[in-house]
Amino acid sequence: MKRVKVVVVGAGVVGSSTAVCIAETLTNCSVTLMGDRFTPDTTSDIAAGILICAPFPDIPLERQQKWFKDTIDHLLTIAQSEEASDAGVLLSSGWQLHKSVPVDKKPFWSEFVLGFRTMTDQELKRFPNHKFGQAFTTVKCECSNYLPWLEKRFRKAGGQVVKQKVNNLQELSTQGYDVIVNCSGLGAKTLVEDSQVYPVRGQVLKVHAPWLQHFIRDGEGQSYIYPGMHSVTIGGTRQADDWRLEPDPGDSQNILERCSRLEPSLRRARVLGVSVGLRPSRKNVRLERELLLLGGRQVDVVHNYGHGGWGVTLSWGTALEALSLVRQCLYQRPPSSRL
């Protein structure tokens, strides 16, 4: 029986994670990871990679909780292993601050991070503009290390990496792929003509502040300070439908000002660089199967895109679900079409 040809489109954190899951589990498939951009030029490379997120409005909470839990459990195991520094995975403790007491005092993922609790009054004294806060330990996953580490794992499992821009799914059918896993992020807007996909522009600064050991996140995440392995990422902006990839000096000024108010020592920090990423946003992430007729062939398509600002946070969990959808595709194929 001929091996099933699977192609994963998009080599950001979601595509790479999905490709690894499939290649390591479905050994009867040949898996290709295909993208026009690879690390360090993906959107994921810009992200600080802190595991925190906001819920999608129309997806059952248990499903989102499983995505979060699967991702953090996977990364916690890496963090406690010898691979931690290679993979760019580290534990990060810190505080999420609110100017007024939120209605929902516990985010839906609070039981999956470590040691989640409300901040004490003494802890809040450091933040005179905030009335409520949450303290916990989560994981930071730095894609500039994590993506190459995933690629190594993918190749070890027999995967092929191809640099190629995909203009439409037909092309992939013509190339003989039986299953297409669509992790094209913002690219899905044109690749599968999904008008619900839109960019949310995020600008971040990398600063040198090695004395900062905690993350600080303000309210809904407009301002944040995320200490990493080699620098501290501070941000951010959330500009919907803004496609500009060039840094905006006004945004940089604004970010420095807001973050310095949270952490005064940042005024002494040297700025190392500025970057911009376009979050591949959608009202709800699209994680589902579709059977398409492409160029006269029946092709299974599994969509896994639209993670917005929560790509790293949900990467492994959504990859596992995409894997199970691919499995379903394989089991439901009539034997004749596998030849």
Binding site: S81, E82, D86, R117, Q213, H214
Partner: protein
């Protein structure tokens, strides 16, 4: 009035600071001189990781717990200022791990966000079944001591690099009050049977992915003889050595091996850390801190000494509380000698 501080570690410098702060406007002129054979970055305070944490239990030395808390609150107060970096002060959270359940430590009310570890957190540390998480402060000697010296220098304090062989030496030159902050070598000036070195060896490594301190406690091996990992602003300190009575300041390769293996078992990611160098320091260990004033006589001269030494492995942790107490003792001397009208103290 001439005041001579002997010792330029964190105790000597911070005591000079407290005395200047409290008395420079009352005693004019107040000349403060600091004498030491070693200055930053070569003091014991410089080599230490700079982590604020007293020993788990104070064994009834409640005064010491109070001085440690005072120091914590003092350092914390600088955090909103951007100058906190110039002082080498920053917050860091972490884990205190035990192999069996234990009573809450003496410092639980001093630190921020103190709590017991959850089951899931303990899963991160196989071999340990109990412990606590809290946010504490770092005060890195290599930055803090130069900051203190600048502070003192700006206010006219003079520094002299030389080993003082006796109190008499200083008294003969006209010093009125001596502040004795000579740490582990206090015995050279005045025999003290309770003072002994607690040798510590540490490894400085590059592991910038570590953002938490991890201190393990073995109630059989004793304080700091179990592995600990303390990230700093420039490198990570790895340790676990507390040898009472060992005066050797040389790095020992067997200690190195033992410390490194235990630390890698505790934190597997260290396998890929680059080891930069080893350092050995002698903690000035004593049953309790010697913080008292003593009237002494040398020939015909009577003089006053304030002793402030014997801070073991918690010198940085307790320094401000002790410095303030030493300054209070200084005031007692002034009062006793009628050097300053009682009403102004």
């Amino acid at each position: 009035m001439r005041v001579a501080v002997i010792g330029a570690g964190v105790s000597g410098l911070s005591t000079a600071q407290s005395i200047f702060e409290q008395y420079h406007s009352l005693i004019i002129p107040l000349t403060i001189e600091v004498y030491a054979d070693r200055f930053t970055p070569l003091t014991t305070s410089d080599g230490a990781a700079g982590f604020w944490q007293p020993y788990l239990y104070d064994k009834g030395n409640v005064q010491e717990t109070k001085w440690c808390k005072e120091t914590f609150d003092y350092l914390l107060s600088f955090l909103r200022s951007p100058d906190s970096i110039k002082m080498g002060i920053f917050l860091q959270s972490g884990y205190n791990l035990c192999s069996e359940s234990a009573p809450d430590p003496s410092f639980k009310d001093s630190v921020l966000g103190f709590r017991t570890l959850t089951e899931r957190e303990l899963e991160l540390f196989p071999g340990y079944s109990y412990g606590w998480f809290n946010t504490a402060l770092m005060v890195e000697g290599k930055t803090y001591l130069p900051w203190l010296m600048d502070w003192l220098r700006e206010r006219g304090v003079k520094f002299y690099q030389r080993k003082i062989e006796s109190f008499k030496e200083l008294v003969d030159s006209g010093v009125d009050i001596i502040i004795n902050c000579t740490g582990v070598r206090s015995g050279d000036l005045q025999f003290d049977p309770e003072l002994t070195p607690g040798r510590g060896q540490i490894l400085k490594v590059q592991a910038p992915w570590l953002k938490h301190w991890i201190i393990t406690h073995s109630f059989t091996a004793g304080t700091y003889n179990a592995p600990y990992i303390i990230p700093g602003s420039q490198s990570v300190v790895v340790g676990g050595c507390f040898q009472i009575g060992n005066w050797s300041e040389q790095n020992n390769s067997e200690d190195h091996q033992r410390i490194w293996e235990a630390a890698c078992k505790l934190e597997p990611s260290l396998k890929h850390a680059q080891i930069v160098e080893d350092w050995t320091g002698l903690r000035p260990v004593r049953s309790k801190v010697r913080l008292v004033r003593e009237s002494m006589q040398s020939g015909q001269s009577k003089f006053e000494v304030i002793h402030n030494y014997g801070h073991g492995g918690f010198g940085l942790t307790i320094h401000r509380g002790c410095a303030q107490e030493a300054a209070r003792l200084f005031g007692e001397i002034l009062e006793l000698k009628d050097w300053v009208p009682k009403s102004s103290l």
